[in-house]
Amino acid sequence: MKIYQNLTIRQKQIVWAWAFLALPVLFYTVIRFYPTANAILISFQNWNLLGDRTWAGLENYQKLFADPVFWHVFRNTFVYLLLGTPVSLVVSFIIAYHLDKTRFMHGFLRMLYFLPFMTSAVAMAWVWRWFYQPVPIGLFNNFLAAAGIPQVSFLNSTTNALPSVLAPAIWAGLGFQVIIFMAGLRAIPKSYYEAAKIDGVSWWTVLWEITLPLLKPTIVFIVVFSSIGFLRIFDHVFNMTTGNPGGPLNSTKPLVLMIYETAFSSFDMGYAAAQTVVLFAVLLFVSLVQLRIMRDK
């Protein structure tokens, strides 16, 4: 107690600050940093969950870079990112832009767009999985067949499967992005628009010169947030392709699903950890690049 009394007010403040910070620090150390460090460690070892861990050196990484399935999966992951992020960004902006101007049933429409975000991804994936089936049970193909159009293989195809899985994933995330965009739109001061009106500027110029530049922080947030989401996509893919996880010939398999399978059905923890480290590096790199590119000058 004597030591504490001898401290200056500033030092006492620091002690208290750390006392309150101790809990989250402890939490992060035990729940985040320790497992992360352990995963990196395991990536240099061989372990099947049952026996002892043995040192493998760089073996797991060598195996990874020589594995054609890994590169296929790596490519899929970036297709999810490069298709998913721009499409969801543009669609959600268009919806938010028009919804912002709509007064008729505004709240109800907003609710309709937000509803998919609140729905369980598992339930949604299964419903879409059934939509996509061939006749006699698939909704889409039943429509096509009724109209006399040949059936489309949605999921049972190496080319259509990935976009088919991505579509409900985009739809599910749309509600959240629409809400964020609308908040961003509302935050733009009305005076800019009034000034533009007085000058008689076209609708396009208003959008291009006022709305979009002022939405930049919102766009940065959504791009980073949804990129991370698409790089980590798992639940939609897993549930729409259980039985044949990752779709026909790995056509929809993302990195996270490959990690899951390596770890919990092949029980090859070292190899799975090496994949995890690669995913971590990719996520870090993509996020840093995006933040840098979109940073205010």
Binding site: N48, L50, N156, N244, L249
Partner: protein, 420 residues
């Protein structure tokens, strides 16, 4: 779990105090672990009760976990000296358990290889290593051909006994709409379900092949027989007049349950859920033979083994318990309660069991069943799935696709056996 622990503790307290008074009756407590499946737990409770009645000096405590946690818990507990004395595991995990030093061989004097070889169905020999058995099952599973009685009657065909009859019957039951889309299949198909077992252990052998050599360490289906088996399988869905469609109604068993499939190959574990399907009139028959009468089947099972934790008197008690759970009486209880097939002909081939309408075809199939020694079952299944997909989706020739699958599976096996 908590209540089990409490029960164990109170039992231990009771037995230890009893031991104080009656020094002649030495009480031993052993622990048994299995994964949670309602009927299995009920059956094991009955077995434990009977066993304890016959061996008053031994107490058996059962602990069960959800399937998803099972492997990790077992792996963590046994090296720490905490886990079970007798443990249940899938036959395909045996190599991993042996390599990790989690289980010990069964004593040769009680479970001599000669005795087990003679008394059990032959596929149990996959658990043998030299002069010892590592583990033994109480019950086993096999495949059979389920059929929809109404559709069969409507098409005017009988349950098939040969592959040719099966194809003909399936053709009679397949329905298409005006545009040629299949709306009802004669036969379900999908390597993602049980078909990879049917192809591997049944069709390849029926075409005169031997799917693996060298105790399942060498792939041997890239042969003429393998080619014929693959052609037969893929042709069911391809061509002008298909009798099935891969992925029809999402899952083979769903199509059969919905009454949209005439026939369906599946395991004995499906019986329970088919019984619960309202409005479905189904029957079951042995897997079809070739025209010259060649038959084969695939069998899988869960086994019980003694862990390395059991020593001294606990080991002796564990051996006694193993003897009981592999006895004829235990197998009959398991069949009645769980619906899984007895692992010994002496129980399975009794008049009542072998001629049972439902269990009979499965039990008769055990006599000629083979058990694949998997290194990684889901990985090896995936290769079969992809073998068919390369043909149906990418137009690759069956010969090329078969060669790729064989090479990939050989690599998987080599990697596995190199590290174990």
């Amino acid at each position: 779990m908590i209540s089990n622990k409490l029960k164990a503790m109170s039992l231990a307290a009771v037995t230890s105090s009893a031991a104080l008074f009656a020094s002649s009756a030495q009480a031993v407590e052993i622990e048994y672990w299995q994964y949670f499946f309602d009927a299995r737990v009920t059956a094991m409770e009955q077995l434990i009760e009977n066993f304890e009645a016959a061996n008053p000096d031994i107490t058996v405590t059962m602990t069960h976990f959800p399937y998803a946690d099972y492997r990790t818990k077992v792996a963590a507990a046994i090296p720490a000296g905490e886990g079970p004395d007798v443990v249940q595991l899938f036959y395909g995990w045996l190599n991993d358990y042996v390599a990790a030093d989690l289980i010990q061989p069964l004593p040769a004097d009680t479970f001599s290889t000669a005795m087990v070889d003679e008394e059990f169905f032959p596929m149990v020999q996959a658990m043998k290593d030299g002069d010892n058995y590592w583990a033994l099952p109480t019950a086993v599973r096999s495949l059979a051909l389920f059929y929809n009685e109404r559709l069969l009657e409507e098409a005017g065909v009988e349950p098939p006994t040969t592959l040719d009859e099966m194809v003909a019957a399936a053709r009679a039951m397949t329905k298409k709409d005006g545009a040629g889309n299949i709306t009802q299949v004669g036969m379900t198909a999908g390597m993602t379900a049980q078909d990879h077992h049917w192809w591997r252990e049944v069709l390849v052998r029926q075409m005169g092949g031997e799917p693996y050599l060298d105790n399942y360490k060498t792939v041997n289906y890239n042969t003429e027989a393998g080619q014929k088996a693959l052609d037969f399988y893929v042709n069911m869905a391809e061509g002008d007049d298909p009798i099935t469609a891969f992925g029809f109604m999402d899952e083979p068993q769903a199509a059969f349950k919905a009454g949209r499939a005439g026939m369906h190959i599946d395991g004995s574990f499906r019986i329970g859920s088919l019984n619960k399907t309202r409005g479905l009139k189904w029957g079951v028959t042995e897997l079809p033979a070739t025209s010259d009468g060649t038959r084969s089947n695939y069998s899988s099972y869960w086994v019980n083994a003694i862990t390395t934790k059991a020593e001294g008197e606990k080991y002796d008690a564990a051996v006694k318990f193993m003897e009981y759970v592999t006895s004829d009486e235990a197998m009959q209880i398991w069949l009645d309660v769980v619906g899984e097939l007895p692992a010994k002909p002496s129980v399975g081939m009794t008049e009542a069991n072998a001629n049972d309408d439902t269990f009979g075809p499965f039990i008769r199939g055990l006599a000629y069943a083979n058990t694949t020694k998997f290194a990684n079952e889901s990985g090896q299944r995936q290769l079969m799935v992809e073998m068919v997909e390369r043909i149906t989706l990418e137009g690759m020739s069956a010969a090329d696709s078969l060669a790729i699958a064989a090479e990939a599976e050989q690599k998987l096996l080599d990697d596995y056996y190199a590290s174990n």
